[in-house]
């Protein structure tokens, strides 16, 4: 068989390693074989290709040191920086926060765990404790860690020596320039050179090829030059309205913290591509980020209308129903997920909780058992034990609850909710010192949670330590300004102080 044909076939079948080997042989025979060369670059690129749109998380450095957003103080509901300012979502009293202080989402994806840290210490600590995959900067960390070129061994030097490449020669040949660009961008991860090539290529084709403009935009985006990226994407959209380009443009606006503009762009995209789920999901995600659950669910439902197997939409709607006190409906969505073949610990855990709150007690414990048996991760096990503990508290079995929370802590020593609940249980037993220790542990682990603060405040109030009670109440109100009990306690304390 013709080796070139064989290589193409292997490439189509995604057997990149074999494809590369054949291409290498071909190139050894004839170093000027353009077809083999470009196929090899494509195969090398495909090996390490990562979806730029979905898998993209803001790095610690960007999050902390960049100031791309225009407004520092915005009107509620117009910024992603301050979650919880939107309307329509259940309050923090009902809907818990993730470990970094954002309201829980039904689907884990990059960005759902972010929350702007105040200090470097916090920024560096959060990924360590919360086990996120947050890179140091979005231009460096992830791409090295996810196993790109730098980790792949190359027997005799790199395939293409970028320093020796004459970019302007390649830029004039579109059939070679495009694979080469992708190779530099994805495989070599050398954005600067990729940008140079793209700039030359777009010039060579007389600024008429939208594809190059999108690539330029991607380079600028990676370099953090968001305004330049915006310009390129917009100009590309004028030529060709691609869904991808809309998605990229919206990502730029999200980075610039202009969620409403992003929604606007998504909607413009929807006019051209009605019912496109990627765009609809984008809108829903932004609304979710703004904590505007009513709108988010509206768009997730539209997504389902167009694609009824969309896992993210189903999960998010289920999550919304669960936290708005409709566990039966949530249960139906989770069962739908199960029917579709999602079979993991998280799902069974959620099913168990839904069953419990929907009063289907016969199913509750068995699903939790299934969840425990499927769990592969200590963190997850801790969460499941914590939930079983919740169920135990619900049925009034405090000793079981106590055991469950302790088991949760065995799996994950940094589980603030478990500490808090343990504290409450100890408090009920009258072990004030232990309870205080638990609350303090919870407080230090999760300063964004109001419960430990409030519990600690009531405890201190009971024992007469008014000063610490006052301080803790203040913190609780800071974390959750609408919390009624904290406010009452604060009023009471103020009265006390004024009498003194």
């Amino acid at each position: 068989m013709d080796p070139m044909y064989m290589a193409y076939s292997l490439f189509r079948r995604r057997k990149f390693e074999d494809c590369i080997n054949i291409c290498t042989e071909l190139l050894e025979k004839n170093p000027y074989d353009q077809a083999a060369w470009s196929l090899k670059t494509r195969a090398l690129t495909e090996q390490v290709y990562v979806d730029e749109i979905d898998v993209d998380e803001e790095g610690i450095a960007e999050m902390l040191m960049d100031d791309n957003t225009i407004a520092q103080i915005t009107r509620p509901g117009t910024s992603l920086k301050k979650p919880g300012t939107g309307q329509g979502a259940p309050s923090a009293g009902v809907r818990p926060l993730s470990q970094s202080g954002r309201p829980l989402s039904g689907f884990v994806r990059p960005g759902t765990q972010s929350g702007r840290p105040g200090t470097m210490e916090q920024a560096i600590r959060t990924p360590r404790t919360a086990h996120t995959a947050r890179p140091v900067t979005s231009a460096s960390g992830r791409f090295v860690r996810l196993g790109t070129a730098s980790m792949l061994s190359t027997p005799d030097g790199p395939f293409i020596n970028l320093a020796r490449l004459n970019f302007s020669k390649y830029a004039a040949r579109p059939n070679l320039a495009k694979p080469l660009f992708e190779y530099i961008f994805h495989h070599e991860n050398d954005v600067r050179n990729a940008l140079e090539l793209a700039a030359l290529a777009t010039e060579a084709c007389g600024f008429k090829d939208w594809w190059w403009k999108v690539q330029l935009g991607k380079c600028y985006y990676r370099l953090g030059l968001y305004r330049d990226a915006e310009r390129q994407f917009k100009s590309a959209l004028k030529q060709q309205e691609m869904v991808d380009t809309y998605l990229y443009l919206c990502k730029v606006y999200v980075r610039l913290d202009q969620p409403l503009t992003a929604i606007d762009i998504y909607k413009q995209g929807l006019e051209k591509h009605p019912g496109e789920t990627a765009l609809l999901t984008g809108i829903a995600r932004i609304y979710e980020g703004l904590n505007d659950m009513t709108n988010a669910v509206k768009f997730y439902k539209q997504v389902l209308h167009n694609d009824n197997t969309h896992v993210e939409a189903i999960a998010c709607i289920a999550n919304y129903h669960f936290y708005t006190d409709q566990p039966e409906i949530a249960l139906r969505y989770y069962r739908r997920l199960l029917q579709m073949g999602v079979y993991n610990a998280e799902l069974f855990n959620n099913l168990g909780l839904c069953c419990f709150y929907a009063q289907q007690y016969d199913m509750t414990l068995s699903t939790f058992e299934r969840a425990l048996s499927l769990s592969t991760d200590d963190l997850l096990t801790a969460d499941i034990w914590y939930n079983i503990g919740q169920v135990a508290v619900g049925i009034g079995d405090t000793s079981l609850a106590l055991q469950c929370f302790r088991l949760a802590l065995v799996s994950n020593n940094d589980h603030p909710e478990a500490y808090n609940n343990l504290g409450v249980l100890e408090l009920r037993k009258g072990h004030l010192d232990q309870a205080r220790a638990f609350f303090q542990a919870a407080e230090s682990l999760a300063p964004h949670m109001f419960e430990p603060h409030y519990n600690f405040a009531t405890l201190s109030d009971q024992v007469g330590d008014l000063q610490s009670s006052y301080n803790a109440t203040k913190k609780a109100i800071e974390a959750y300004p609408e919390h009624c009990d904290s406010k009452e306690l604060l009023e009471q304390l103020k009265k006390h102080f004024s009498i003194l």
Binding site: M65, I70, A71, V136, Y220, L260
Partner: protein
Amino acid sequence: MLVPIFTLKLNHKINPRMVTLGKYDGKHPNLTAATTAGKVFVHNPHTRMANASGRAIEASVDSDVSLLSINQQVSAVCAGSLDSLGVNDVLMVGTQTNLLAYDVQNNTDVFYKDAPDGVNAIAVGQLGDIETPLAIIGGNCSLQGYDSEGNDLFWTVTGDNVCSLVLCDVTNDGDKELIVGSEDFDIRVFRKDEIISEMTETEAITALCSMANNRFGYALANGTVGVYENNSRYWRIKSKNQAVSIHSFDLNGDGVPELITGWSNGKVDARSDRTGEVIFKDNLSSSVAGIVEGDYRMDGHSELICCSVEGEVRGYLPASQEQKGNLMDTNVEQETIRELSQRKQNLLLELKNYEENAKAGQAERPSGMGELDKAQMGIIPANTQLQTSLTVNPGDANKPPHVELSVSTTNDTIVRSVLIFAEGIFEGESHVVHPSVQNLSNCLKVQVVPPKDVPVDLHIKAFVGGKSSNQYHVFELTRQLPRFSMYLPCPDDTPEPKSSVAFTVNERVQRVLMWINQNFLLNEDITCKGDLNIGFISLRGSGPVFINMQANGQVTIKTDDLDLAGDLIQAIANFLGIEDLQVTADFPMHMEELKNVLHKVDEFHSVRQKLTAEMADHSNLIRSLVVRAEDARLMGDMRNMRRGYMELFDLNRDLINGYKIRCTNHQELLNCLKLVNQTIQKAGQLRVGKFKTQVVSSCREAIKTNNISALFKIIKTGAS
């Protein structure tokens, strides 16, 4: 006495001339100003008022101020509505490289545009018959207007860097014209993209404001403030301080707005628009940064709001009926009496003088000292006349070329000193020649070097008297310096310049000859029969110029100076009353230069892109180094931390060097772009009327499509 109705301390510095007031939610006016470190603040006290219904909240000004980071040096700020309904205002922020239109209410961009020419001034409003309101930005020699979607619907060029812009109906035709003040001391009025009038001032125009009745106010960098009506100056005053901001506002409640001026020493004064008389003044503790008006207390009355650079804000309500016209802290009657008695004093003094003179003239003293007495009293022969003449002096080794103004008397009386007042020629506008006692004679020569080819009125005051007089007679006269005074008829053997312009007029040669006699400073009027052919040489060093006219009306002007050719054509067209004139221009040297410049621009662009990418790459590296070093610090790994920070230091130095290179590159690019714009403007200046507009707009098209050969053709023939 008018007192401020509110005073605020914002605790933020305000950049001068970067203050505006916008209703971003369509209802509440918010004071917006650029402050230090590339930030813009929005002061919104209204949401607090709404919240404060229940119980009192600590009224801290800080909580009302929200900052917007622009991350670049802000150069202009303006708020206005860009949709035709005009409900919500959009905030426009200009920097040296781009323009951002931002919706403050929704935290969204309306549009973001690159502005390679920079943004020196912004005006928002309806221009001419363009349907939607435009955000018009003035940069280096260019004017651009964007609609609410960021499309540029308006583009033209102007003579120099734009300093100030305002939209005002000067011609009283119901449509607004654009008034542009620029660094070449010119105020130009544009009706859409056509210049309808041009006024020359004596300094860069730093501020303009629209007033009632076709008037507009202006302020210059040398401290002059004044008002124009149509194309003529109404009044002007000059101060040693600089006027930072001017605004038109009816402060005394008489229905006619006054010109409010904020000065660099913190003074704010209101002047009557008719006379320039001060009707109100107040002092802020530091330099004024801007003056705006708006209903800031939401009570239905518009206030005048003055801001100082230190963030002090004062609001004034217009005077009520009872204190009408009496805003100063003085008693009008006393003031009038004082003024009248002062005048009486002056008149008495004058009368006394005359009496003395008369006495000396009539009564011959027995002592025989009459003559001396006469001289002392400053009596001069009744037939004394003052003669002035203007001649062109080509200059010599010691003296630069100049126009010589000689002032002489007809007899042996002497000219003690001469005081000349002329705009734009002397520094500070007036010039005094006061020779020492031994050099006194009956003739005095003054060097005049007009920097530009504009007609200037020389107001001359000469002190004439006897040799030993103590008192002198003052002769006052006005002499006009013709437009092209710095030119000499050139010798015959002068080589002809390479470049030329040619056009046809339907006029007799004699008319053009008349124009030449009027506008050039010639010793004797030129006459000629048949074809006209004259040559001049410029004393400013821009070479010879030949004007040639044939009997069939074909005119050729040969000169290497594009500016001069434009000036000559404009002046001839003006004199002959030509409305539209198409011209063929051939400037090989300029075209060569333009070609090089355009080539350079391309180079700078590509270099800039590379530098930008490099810098972004470096800054990414720096960020990751900071995080790593901090991480090491938190874990107590001091050696790694030290290493990280060392690397950081090296990289930082590299970055700063890179920045310097980028800065120079940018500066060069700016200069080149300015040159391109200026060439286009000059090419437009060669044509008159609709052809002028046509040249500018088709040049723009050619530049947009990067069609350089078309650009040259347009400059040459006036059409694409």
